[in-house]
């Protein structure tokens, strides 16, 4: 099996990711149940968005302790591809597979809207289909996407070039975490993430987590295909290694 989408109680975007991989990209995909301890040979594992365990306590905290996460960890350590989107990103943080933590959005509200992202790395298995510096439009939908990390570790994260996407203005300027809203009341860094971080990866680049939802903008009929290249890159990376 090439792609596996993990289903936790409360996953909401599992079918959306499945749809893109299967029907848009024609890949072999399977759902993996959180209680399983095997990835059944999946080469690309996606932790989808949603409200696993209701997002009670802290988003992603309970899911991070699911049996399948041990298998995901082994897969990742062996260099396998792991993509966490939204709630999936929160799980990667909670499980320590990626560094840092999420707080509530700076306005304390759930926010569902399009944001602009600047691509900071175009050499990852997930981002080869983009150009560094390219500005993408992508929807977010979360209440806890306000990324934070301790100052020193943040610095080393930056130095290692592990920030993959940043929240920017439509023109590509980085949006400070405490910037004031523009005259229309809009914030480009809606959740207030430190250094405008929207997505990061591990040292080796095979684990990536991001808050925006590329699977919601990967079909022409929805008016935006900026997210498609992310999935096609990942799938393409599998073909190379296969």
């Amino acid at each position: 099996m090439r792609c596996g989408v993990v289903v936790f109680p409360g996953s909401n975007c599992d079918h959306d990711v499945y749809h893109i991989l299967k029907h848009v990209l024609g890949q072999e995909v399977t759902f993996l149940w959180h209680g399983e301890d095997s990835l059944r040979g999946s080469e690309l594992v996606v932790l989808p968005g949603g409200f696993s365990y209701g997002d009670y306590l802290r988003a992603g905290a309970m899911a991070a302790l699911s049996p399948i996460m041990a298998a995901v960890r082994r897969h990742a350590e062996a260099g396998g591809l792991v993509l966490g989107i939204c709630n999936g990103f929160q799980m990667l943080l909670e499980s320590g597979l990626l560094p840092g933590a999420m707080r509530r959005n700076r306005n304390l509200l759930f926010e569902c809207r399009d944001v602009f992202l600047r691509v900071e790395r175009d050499d990852l298995p997930f981002t080869r289909g983009y150009r560094k510096g390219q500005v993408l439009r992508m929807p977010i939908a979360h209440a806890e996407g306000n990324y934070i990390h301790h100052a020193d570790q943040l610095e080393s994260l930056e130095e290692a070039g592990r920030v993959v996407f940043r929240y920017v203005s439509p023109e590509g300027e980085v949006a400070a975490e405490d910037a004031a809203p523009n005259e229309l009341g809009e914030l480009w860094n809606v959740n207030g993430s430190i250094n405008a971080i929207a997505g990061i990866c591990n040292e080796e680049g095979n684990i990536m987590g991001m808050m925006p939802h590329p699977e919601r903008c990967a079909e022409e009929i929805l008016g935006n295909v900026d997210g498609l290249a992310l999935f096609s890159s990942a799938v393409g990376a599998l073909e190379v290694t296969a």
Binding site: M62, G100, R103, R106, N146
Partner: protein, 96 residues
């Protein structure tokens, strides 16, 4: 009220208080502080918004309850990257 009882078989209530670490900006605390000031409460200098859990346990006689509760914190209740916590053990049931 806070009676340190670390071993026992009776019902025990553990109260865990979790706060964002001081060096971490707390958006909720900040929002509450400014809301209080807007409501006319003077002299509010800082607000930290944390969580409180009350866990009712029936512990085995051999267990060090505080140790067990700290493990719950480490394993689930607290994200040590951004949070600190404290544990209090209360006999029997507790209501705020």
């Amino acid at each position: 009220m806070a009676n340190k009882k670390t071993k026992g078989t009776g019902p025990i209530t553990a109260r865990i208080t979790v706060y964002p670490r001081p060096e971490i900006l707390d958006p909720q605390g900040k929002a509450i502080a400014s809301a209080l000031t807007r409501l006319g409460f003077d002299g509010v200098e800082d607000v930290r918004a944390g969580k409180s859990f009350e866990i009712q346990l029936r512990a085995a006689a051999t267990q060090d309850v505080e140790e067990v509760v700290r493990r719950m914190c480490k394993d689930l209740l607290v994200n040590s990257v951004v949070e600190d916590y404290s544990v209090e053990l209360l006999d029997g049931e507790a209501k705020p």
